[in-house]
């Protein structure tokens, strides 16, 4: 399969334009034209267009966006909220930051169009606490949009009004989960909420709420401008369009690259990453952020960057954070670090996650420090399995999946560090 | 009514002497055996001498202590619960150290009721109560048979329990 030509890019075609974050530059690039077009359409037509595009949520779960929007009960009489999830915290993922910092008006335009589609008049951008620079840029972009009349009452003379507020998180991973984000935005402890009721019916302040990822919303203007069918031309099968992939790890050119879905993973690493650094041998690739199970070199050579291919190899495309691990890197250290991350970030609400993440970390720490016992291998697997699918949100699964994945695909390396014996120590 | 003839014992039985000698034979055998072999004497000179008992003998209970001398018992009442004679009476109280939390204020065993079955020892989760070797429990006053916490700790001469739990 051919790689995406730079001029066919959807999100990052003009990203290198200087001062793109200024509204003048953005308008000169043809910005806010999609908004005008959208406002001339009916709201249902906008949703229809998005449905046609086959756009799926870019946050990690991959839920079809148009379908999500159509779940909202428009006639409930309650205000409807559109929340932009910019709490990008998955290790290995840094794609939203590019849009937030370089092209904030693309996001704002996407939000306005989406808010028009879902009949929302108040929208929030929940930006990750650590993205201070991005928050500043967005703040200014919102101000500019207000001045130009893209935000506020009767946008561009239409009946649609929208207030957009930036909210900075305090740095919790779990606030990137949609109900966790809602709790946090409501001023509560950032803990995911039970479903049902689903946010589309009862979310932020018990009102219908749509939560979309930055990349998802930033794609909307292009879809409106060029039509859903045009978007569906990109990609393969159920994986339509392009995605921002975050390439990190032991490659020559790590970074964010837009690419059409469905291209071979090896090609992607070779072409964009410039191959392995120092000619190191590939050991494993984490394809979709730290919570997805890894791929072995053999699987990497067969895998393509789309949902179905990843499912075939027992992993997920997730948030598009591709982490390349070289031969000389210790998987034990990696797993210790990952389990520590999830132990630290568990909200502590559900027992399996609260206790399980701590236990996984204790075991990985002991193994990494050379104190692992053969029984720990089975214990790790059993504990991780107990954590799968037993909690409110997916953090427990996210913590368990990499452990299970690495144990399954790289058992020898881990077993080599385990000793017979029973003495436990941390 | 005089139908039955009076039964006459045979001569050797009427004399008795033979039977007496026969009976004395065992006594005399032991008498002479003990006379010439005092080491094999089955009777011992209690209380100067005492018979050795099995280590598993179940006598008066011992309450063990921790290494710092505090009572081991946590007043969980499992011994009292399992006691078939209902002879253990515990009153629990709060210990100032939150790591200890609960200690017995009173721990009384009514040894007149105790059947020395050892169930208390079996039930104890922290090795706080053991069946001791002491069986000399005589007294002139019934009240003396209520053994208190202090009595039972003294009975074990402050045995330190090192069992971890």
């Amino acid at each position: 399969m051919k790689l995406l030509a730079p001029e066919r890019r959807i999100l990052t075609k003009d990203i290198e334009t200087p001062n793109l974050f200024r509204i003048e530059t953005y308008e000169a690039q043809g910005g806010y034209q999609s908004l005008k077009k959208a406002l001339s359409l009916t709201q249902d037509a906008v949703i229809e267009e998005v449905k046609k595009s086959g756009l799926r949520g870019r946050g990690g779960a991959g839920f079809p966006t148009g379908q999500k929007w159509s779940f909202v009960p428009f006639q409930s009489g309650k205000p409807i909220y559109l929340l932009c999830n910019a709490d990008e915290s998955e290790p290995g993922t840094f794609k939203d930051r590019v849009i937030l910092e370089k092209n904030p008006h693309l996001l704002i335009e996407g939000i306005i169009i989406s808010s028009y589609a879902v009949r929302c008049h108040k929208s929030y951008i929940y930006v990750r606490g650590e993205y201070a620079e991005a928050a500043k840029i967005i703040e200014r972009a919102i101000e500019e949009a207000y001045q130009k009349g893209y935000l506020g009452k009767n946008i561009l003379g239409s009946n649609h009004s929208l207030d957009l507020v930036l909210h900075r998180g305090a740095g919790a991973y779990i606030c990137g989960e949609e109900t966790g984000l809602i709790s946090s935005l409501e001023g509560k402890k950032g803990q995911p909420k039970l479903k049902p009721p689903f946010p589309a019916v009862s979310g932020f302040l018990n009102c219908p709420t749509v939560v979309n990822n930055v990349e998802t919303l930033a794609t909307i203007p292009w879809i409106i401008k060029n039509g859903g069918d045009a978007y569906a031309q990109y990609g393969v099968g159920t994986a339509k369009g392009t995605r921002l992939f975050c390439l990190s790890g032991w490659v020559n050119r790590p970074g964010v690259y837009e690419e059409e879905m469905g291209i071979p993973l090896t090609d992607f690493i070779e072409h964009y990453g410039g191959g392995m650094k120092d000619g190191a041998k590939l050991k494993a690739v984490i394809p979709g952020g730290s919570s997805t199970p890894p791929l072995t070199p053999e699987e990497v050579s067969q895998a393509t960057l789309d949902y179905d291919s990843m499912t075939k190899f027992g992993t997920f495309l997730g948030s598009g954070g591709i982490i390349v691990i070289p031969e000389h890197f210790s998987l034990l250290l990696l797993l210790e670090r990952l389990t520590e991350f999830y132990w630290d970030e568990s909200c502590g609400q559900c027992t399996p996650c609260r206790e399980g993440t701590g236990w996984l970390y204790k075991m990985m720490k002991a193994i990494e420090h050379g104190k692992g016992r053969t029984k720990d291998f089975e214990d790790l697997q059993k504990t991780a399995r107990s954590m799968m699918g037993t909690t409110i949100c997916a953090l427990s699964d996210a913590a368990a999946m990499p452990v299970l994945g690495f144990l399954k695909k790289f058992p020898d390396e881990i077993k080599a560090h385990l000793k017979e014996g029973t003495e436990a120590s941390v | 009514m005089n139908a039955s003839k009076k039964y006459q014992l045979p001569v050797q039985q009427r004399v008795y002497l033979f039977a007496i000698l026969q009976g004395m034979r065992i006594t005399l055998k032991h008498f002479f055996r003990n006379l010439f072999n005092p080491k094999g004497l089955p009777t011992i000179q209690y209380p100067e001498k005492r018979r050795p008992y099995s280590k598993r003998f179940r006598g008066l209970q011992i309450l063990t202590v921790k290494e710092n001398g505090d009572i081991r018992c946590t007043a969980c009442m499992l011994c009292a619960t399992n006691c078939p004679a209902a002879c253990i009476h515990i009153t629990a109280t709060e210990h100032p150290d939150p790591k200890v939390e609960k200690v017995p204020l009173e721990f009384n065993i009514d040894m007149l009721r105790c059947v020395f079955c050892g169930m208390c020892e079996e039930a104890c989760p922290v090795d706080a109560i053991r069946m001791g070797p002491n069986y000399e429990l005589a007294s002139f006053d019934r009240n003396d048979f209520i053994y208190t916490k202090e009595d039972l700790m003294r009975n074990g001469r402050n045995t330190v329990s090192k069992v971890k739990h």
């Binding site: 206790e355 399995r385 | 969980c76 609960k102």
Partner: protein, 499 residues
């Protein structure tokens, strides 16, 4: 049936429940127990313990039953191998950081961790790393908090936010560092703190009053009703059958009256039953000092006095008496010729039918004011209000006053009545405990407490409920029925109607 009903199948059992009922509640209605910690029928759903997992047909993932609404045609299974395995695993995770100090823990014996461990677990602990340590033995008012035992089910947090609306408790920090606590360790400040110890499924919250007093398996339980105010909360009273002493009062769930709660007063005020202030035997004030009397003597003397001059006698019945006691007292005394009856109650608050704090507490501290009104009405005997009684006592209309059925220390309306009686009025008091007005009295007869008698009470909402004796009669006390029949017979033979 205006509500929409849905039919579903749980473990091959057909169940019909109102629409919107959770699968958990539906299973409970069908008598199927699902293990749980965080679910409580009178609190909102938290869904955090992850124990109530069930298998629902056509759903590949197990679902928590507490937050899954029952739908038409749903097929639920709660005992499949998959469910059992999952529950076992979740239970294991509950236990890995639990201190397992059951010998010390007061909850042992009624602890849900112990119960479900026996039902689902029974494995050796795989976890041999150092457990997470959290603060133990924290004093938060009437309750002791042990964060290490806590499984963070958040029932208590929801209780303080939803029932008492005082929000003292919260879960601080996150992950396995999360601890339950109050802000700055301030003590709990509401009148329902005791319920926290009940709803805690483990031994994290224990009531100071009951702490270390008894192991729960020594206790016998009696289902009865609280008599400390007009609300008539349903309770369970525990006594040790060996010592016949009361140890604790707990709420009994009744969705129409008290849900699952009782107030702290109802819970901890039972101590007067074994108090040294109880009246042990009948006493008479003769020649400047109290002398002990027999019941026979009391009945003879008092009965004779009543018979000779029945109209100079005012009989005041405490609204703490049961319907049966009142009926017998009024019947026997009026057959002796007594015409004037009144009640001992705070009349200004009797008409309140709703708790004043919006939860359970009533201003009327007597349990049976409604019962008194109904008994008098059914017997067709007129009675005077307290104001009139006070007026007539002051005007020396009566030379004798018999007050029956007093209980406890708080006897609303009694002070009014006794203070109104002139010094020469002869007063006989039938009470459990010695009051401040003893110098006004000539006779004091020991009454039984509400924990020692059975009968019917009618609460403020007009519901009649059964009171059941939970401990034997203390000292030489007699209930109202025995006193009534004794006075009629003027002797201490076994009264006809009483046991």
């Amino acid at each position: 049936m205006s509500e929409k009903m849905v039919k579903l199948t749980i473990n091959d059992k057909a169940v019909e429940v109102p629409a919107g009922t959770s699968v958990f509640a539906a299973a409970a209605m069908a008598g199927i127990e699902i293990p749980h910690y965080c679910y409580h029928p009178d609190l909102s759903v938290a869904g955090v313990c992850r124990m109530c997992m069930v298998e629902i047909e056509k759903n590949p993932r197990l679902q928590i039953s507490c937050n899954t609404p029952a739908t038409e045609g749903m097929v639920v299974k709660t005992k499949t191998d998959k469910v059992k395995e999952t529950v076992k695993n979740v239970l294991e995770l509950h236990l890995i950081n639990h201190p397992l100090d059951c010998p010390i823990c007061d909850k042992a014996g009624e602890c849900k961790l112990q119960d479900f461990y026996s039902g689902y677990g029974l494995y050796e602990s795989r976890m041999d790393y150092e457990k997470v340590h959290k603060p133990k033995v924290q004093d938060i008012g009437t309750i002791m908090l042990d964060s290490e035992r806590c499984i963070l089910c958040s029932r208590c947090v929801r209780f303080t936010s939803e029932v008492t609306k005082t929000n003292e408790l919260g879960i601080f920090n996150r992950g396995d560092r999360a601890v339950l606590g109050t802000v700055d360790n301030k003590p709990l400040k509401n009148d329902y703190t005791g319920n926290l110890a009940d709803i805690c499924p483990v031994g994290a919250l224990t009531a100071k009053d009951f702490r270390f007093k008894q192991r729960v398996w020594f206790l016998d339980k009696t289902k009865t009703v609280c008599t400390l105010c007009a609300h008539g909360c349903n309770t369970v009273v525990s006594r040790n059958p060996q010592t016949q002493k009361l140890f604790r009062v707990e709420p009994r769930r009744n969705p129409e009256i008290n849900k699952s709660w009782i107030c702290d007063r109802g819970r901890w005020d039972f101590h007067y039953v074994h108090d040294e202030n109880r009246v042990p035997e009948p006493k008479r004030f003769v020649d400047g000092k109290w002398t002990e009397q027999t019941w026979h003597g009391a009945f003879q003397t008092l009965g004779e006095e009543i018979t000779t001059e029945p109209t100079s006698m005012l009989v005041a019945l405490s609204a703490q008496m049961t319907n049966e006691e009142m009926t017998d007292a009024v019947n026997t005394l009026s057959s002796l010729g007594v015409k004037d009856f009144t009640w001992v109650v705070d009349e200004s608050v009797v008409s309140d039918s709703k708790p004043f704090d919006g939860i359970l507490k009533h201003r009327d501290l007597t349990p049976n004011a409604r019962g008194f009104e109904m008994v008098m009405k059914s017997l067709n005997i007129s009675w005077m209000g307290t104001a009139q009684a006070v007026e007539k006592l002051k005007s020396k209309r009566f030379t004798r006053l018999l007050v029956m059925g007093l209980e406890g220390y708080e006897m609303p309306g009694l002070a009014n009545l006794l203070l109104a009686a002139p010094a020469e009025t002869k007063v006989a008091l039938h009470a459990t405990s010695q009051t401040a007005f003893l110098e006004k009295c000539d006779w004091i007869l020991p009454n039984v407490s509400a924990f020692e008698k059975s009968g019917t009470l009618i609460n403020a909402q007009g519901m009649s409920q059964k009171l059941k004796a939970s401990v034997p009669k203390q000292f030489l006390s007699r209930d109202g029925q025995q006193v009534a029949w004794g006075l009629l017979q003027k002797s201490d033979r076994k009264p006809l109607s009483a046991r």
